[in-house]
Structures are given as structure tokens and as C-alpha cells.
Symmetry: C2
Subunit: 329 residues, 2 copies
């Protein structure tokens, strides 16, 4: 945690970031070389790290508090996929040399807002200058009981496949952010854009899934791509029914208006819903969990022998997809 | 740990980074949303995070294996300053869109070499593309007994002040890397440049200091600046004797040749030596530790009441310094 090499940067940390560390005893108020994480007895620390680049993962002119909240949320989503209790995060900011204090202040305000909402605190990090676009790195920490951590490798043949929430909204939302989808009503465009901008990490669902799911992943690359990752890590295949995939009302209207197809939605990224598997006897339990949390949890298919992901249309025929997840590298 | 969005990036991870995770059971071979860190009973996880930007923290044309090793080492140095046992790291790479596979391969080879040397393994991360210079983020993890962690806040009035190794070499080394210091012999320039390029994290010293030091910090911003940080966090002042500061032979020859002054060396950054305090009765113990580790450990001053850092010349007069640490932000 060096790199703090000029009054300017110390000032930024002192003014905007130190207050974010107040709730974390192991953070030493950001006045140390590192921080301490002490998991409860019988639990481990879960670590995840996601980067965002200005102009790649968010528009350069995006509201800085939204950038901050999205950065935190996409990382918390990874913790949710492991069934972890989110506790803390470290921040690595490479900011343009001419970044305004107001930008940093608004960025920190976004973090403060979501820290409160998700019960996490800043424990450390580093801030440096770059001649290129901003590169924002966040490492999120949680805790999970040693024998309970969910991962991608546990899917068994015959397992049911579930997703939380609705699928494809963020991909449509990104199009809305870019000014497309004029065929939709403004409130639909706004709702979809919000789903892209501020995904909801499914921490509460992840935490209760540790007792029932055989595996889990969060949907960042797209339903088909991430289900593919699950299958690869578990050594199995998956078959899902296109018409079982849960769609929001704005997404249904986008399909009805002819501006989106189901294939776009199941391959679109950034939903940050949870995708998980459970054995058929657990159906009642899974339904009850969804109801208890007030969150749609939908069974969309089955794990099979073999490899790869098949999406069947209403007649049981495989849907042909143009792409599986989007690329930026 | 998403962001892996195109075959190209999955390939990079599969080919170059997955092998680096082999020794870490909680890494899930990088095939999961996150990783697990399970500290031994009675110990906590220590976290530290440092970024490097191409063209700011290292020359754009620097050998990629050296960039990787330096990135890892500056983070391990922070763990050393906390008395931690280094165990693992996560990597966040924002690389130029046109980065060559050979660059990534050499970068990974550098990590492999230093992983082996320092007993750590890769547990996860994220790789994205940027239109700007490379931004490299590393989060390093270690473990430390819950009651043993060193920090910056423990210096007491009357404590002795010590440093490991020699001071100012890296600042001279940076000048040598930039083609300066022509007055020195080529082997002196090479030795100094090496001290800048590949600092030595003092992990073994940090680990034994937990029983004897009252506080510690690693010298990244410069001896004077980092001693200032210690004093601020501890609420004390420091007085050091300029002629007690340990200098390498190349640094002594740089002073003799008139191309450097002691003021440059005590304010130059990037040495990554440990600066620590201990009570006077511990002098014998500290000397013995240094001898056991084969590492120079030099007493350079005393903690006093008040605030700020004073460097006294041979006549006891305060040295006037042009700067305290260098800035890039």
C-alpha cells in the first residue's frame, strides 16, 4: 500500500477514502502497509478481484458514483456465487493525471452508499496516476464456513439448473445506455439501463444456497457462456429450454417489438444473476428460498452427460446462437 | 473474477497463469468466481495492494519478467513490514490491446521464478484490455499470529530506530536506468540499477521482528518520508544521524564522485528496506537477528517527543532537505 507519493494523493486518501475504512478494525484507518482480515473460527476468507476500464466497461462520462457502485457490486456478485458473507474490499485506482477532486469525491460517495447497503468496508489499496483511461481494480473479501463454499465444479448429471431474477436485461440496458432501443417506451429503456448500471449482487440468495446448491456461478459473461463454464468445470453438459428462461417485462416488450431475440438475451453479459444447480429432491426447498427472499428463482433446464450447452426452442430443437458471451480483449 | 470474455483471454489464463496457481489449493485452478484463504488457527490474513503503471513505475521497454518480479516484490515488502508469512497473491492486469503473447509469457515466467523464491502462489485475478499504458495491480496475502502483526503506530519515545540493508541505492539505480551517473564505473551503475529493478522484500527479517520491534514500515517513499509516516501514526518525532545511515559502496562512490549527496539518498524512494523501532534493551537481540540472517541492520537514530523527522549532520546540525519522497500523482 505504497504509491502514496505526493501531498495530492495523501490528501485524496485522507479526505475521501479514510472515512470509508472506519467500520473495519483491521484497516488501521488506511495508515499502514496492509490490513488484517480475521475470519471467524471454522471459516475461510473468500477473495475475488475484478477490474473495470473507462470506455470499455463503462462510458467515460458515466456518473462517478455509479461507476464506483458498479465496481463494488460486480465484485460482491462473485462473493455471492461462492455463498460468502461479504465483509471488506481493497481498492486500486489508476486515475488520469488531470482527474478532478469532484470526480474522486463523487466516486467515494458512491462507495459510501453501497458500503452501507451491503455491509462492507474499505480496508486498503493504492492510488496512482496514468496517462491512459482510468483503470479501477477492486478486491473483495468475504467469509464462508470451511466446508460450505460454493464453486463451479459440483454439477451432477440429473441436477436441475436455476437462475435468479431475469436474464438479458443488462445487455439490453447497455444498448439503451448507448442510445439504442428507440422502439421501447422511455421507462422501459430507463429500467433496462439501470439493470446494466447497477446490478444487484445476490448475496442473500448465495448465502442460503450453500446448503442446497451443488454448484453456482454469477452471470457476467452471459447465461450460455457462464453455464458453459459451469459445465466445463463440472465435466458435464447442460440442456435448457429457451421458453423457460425468465425475462423481465421490458425484455419481453423488446422481443415483441422486434428489437431483440431470445438468442441475444441468453448470450448477453452483465446480468449478475446467480446460476446454480440442485438435485431434483431440493425443488421445494429452492422454491421456498426464492419466496422467502422475494426473488424470482426459475428452473430452466437439466444437467446431462457429455459436454456443452444446448438451448432448446419450444419444439425441442436446438437454438442456433451467433455468439456465446461478448469479448473485449 | 470475471472479465474473461474472449477466447484470447481465456487462452492467456489457461496457458500462462493457471500453472502459477498449482500450489494453492484454494485457487480452484483459477476456474472459479473467487479463491479461498484459510489462515492457521489463531492467525489472520494480511492483505496489501500495490499498482504499477507502465511509463510511471517502470520504463515501457523494461523486460517483462523484471516488471512481474518487481510488482510481486514491492507487495511482498509490505507483508514483510507487517511481519507476515507470505502465502498468495491475486493479479489484476489491464494490458494494451495489442500486447504480444510473448510479453505475457515472459511476464508469467518472471512470476513463476519469484513465486518459487518467496513461497507464494497465484490464487486469482482478472485480465482486461486498455487503450492506455499497462496498469498492473497485485494484491498480496500473508498470515500473521493475531497478536503479533507489526504496524506503523507503535513507536515509543526513547526507542532506537533501525534500517535494514543500505539506503538510497534504488534512487541512484533509477538514475542509472535512465542513463545517468556516467561518472560511476559500469559495474556500480549495474549494481545500483539492479537494486531499483529487483528490490529484496525483507520477509525473513519482518517475521522475526514481530517479537522485538515496536513498529515497522517498508521504505518505498524514501527514508525520511516513511519515517515521517511512522512518526505521524505513532504520534512521535524522530532524530537520525546522517552519518549513521548505511550506504552501499557504489552509493559511497557516487557521493565521492560528487554525483549524489546524502540528502538525495535519504529522500530517494524504492529501496524496500525495513525501517523499524525497538526499545534500547533489545539492541543485543536486534544485532543477533541481523547476524543470523546475514543482513545488515543498522541503528540510525532515536524516537523523541514531538513531531517530524530531523536529520543531524556530523556536527549535530539539522540537514536541510529539498524534498521528502518523490511524487508522481
Amino acid at each position: 500500500m505504497t504509491g502514496a507519493r505526493r501531498t495530492g494523493e495523501f490528501d485524496l486518501i485522507e479526505r475521501f477514502f479514510k472515512p470509508l475504512s472506519r467500520a473495519a478494525p483491521g484497516a488501521f484507518a488506511l495508515g499502514n502497509d496492509g490490513a488484517l482480515l480475521t475470519p471467524p473460527e471454522g471459516e475461510s476468507v473468500v477473495v475475488t478481484k475484478d477490474l473495470m476500464v473507462a470506455g470499455v466497461h463503462y462510458p467515460e462520462n458515466e456518473e462517478p458514483s455509479t461507476v464506483a457502485r458498479r465496481l463494488l457490486r460486480v465484485n460482491l456478485s462473485d462473493l455471492a456465487a461462492m455463498g460468502a458473507n461479504a465483509t471488506a474490499y481493497a481498492l486500486g485506482l489508476a486515475l488520469p493525471e488531470d482527474v478532478a477532486d469532484a470526480w474522486v469525491e463523487a466516486f467515494a460517495a458512491g462507495l459510501a452508499q453501497d458500503q452501507e447497503a451491503f455491509g462492507v468496508a474499505l480496508i486498503g489499496g493504492d492510488t496512482v496516476a496514468t496517462k491512459g483511461p482510468a483503470v479501477l481494480s477492486l478486491t473483495a473479501f468475504g467469509t464462508v464456513a470451511d466446508d460450505a463454499c460454493l464453486n463451479r465444479a459440483g454439477a451432477g448429471v440429473g441436477d436441475d439448473i436455476y437462475v435468479s431474477g431475469s436474464i438479458g436485461d443488462a445487455a439490453l440496458g447497455l444498448r439503451a445506455v448507448r442510445g439504442a432501443l428507440a422502439a421501447l417506451a422511455p421507462e422501459d429503456r430507463a429500467a433496462l439501463a439501470e439493470r446494466f448500471r447497477l446490478p444487484e449482487p445476490r448475496l442473500a440468495l448465495g448465502a442460503v444456497l450453500v446448503d442446497v446448491a451443488t454448484c453456482a456461478i454469477d452471470i457476467s459473461d452471459g447465461l450460455v457462456a457462464d453455464l458453459g463454464h459451469l459445465c466445463t468445470e463440472s465435466g458435464v453438459a447442460a440442456r435448457i429450454a429457451a421458453d423457460a428462461v425468465p425475462l423481465s417485462e421490458p425484455a419481453q416488450r423488446a422481443i415483441a417489438a422486434g428489437v431483440a431475440a431470445i438468442g441475444d438475451l441468453v448470450t448477453g453479459g452483465d446480468d449478475y444473476e446467480l446460476l446454480f444447480c440442485a438435485a431434483p429432491p431440493a425443488r421445494g426447498t429452492v422454491d421456498a428460498l426464492g419466496q422467502r427472499l422475494g426473488l424470482a428463482v426459475t428452473r430452466i433446464g437439466t444437467i446431462e452427460r457429455g459436454e456443452g450447452v444446448t438451448i432448446a426452442d419450444a419444439d425441442g430443437r436446438p437454438l442456433t446462437l451467433g455468439r456465446t458471451g461478448y469479448a473485449h480483449f
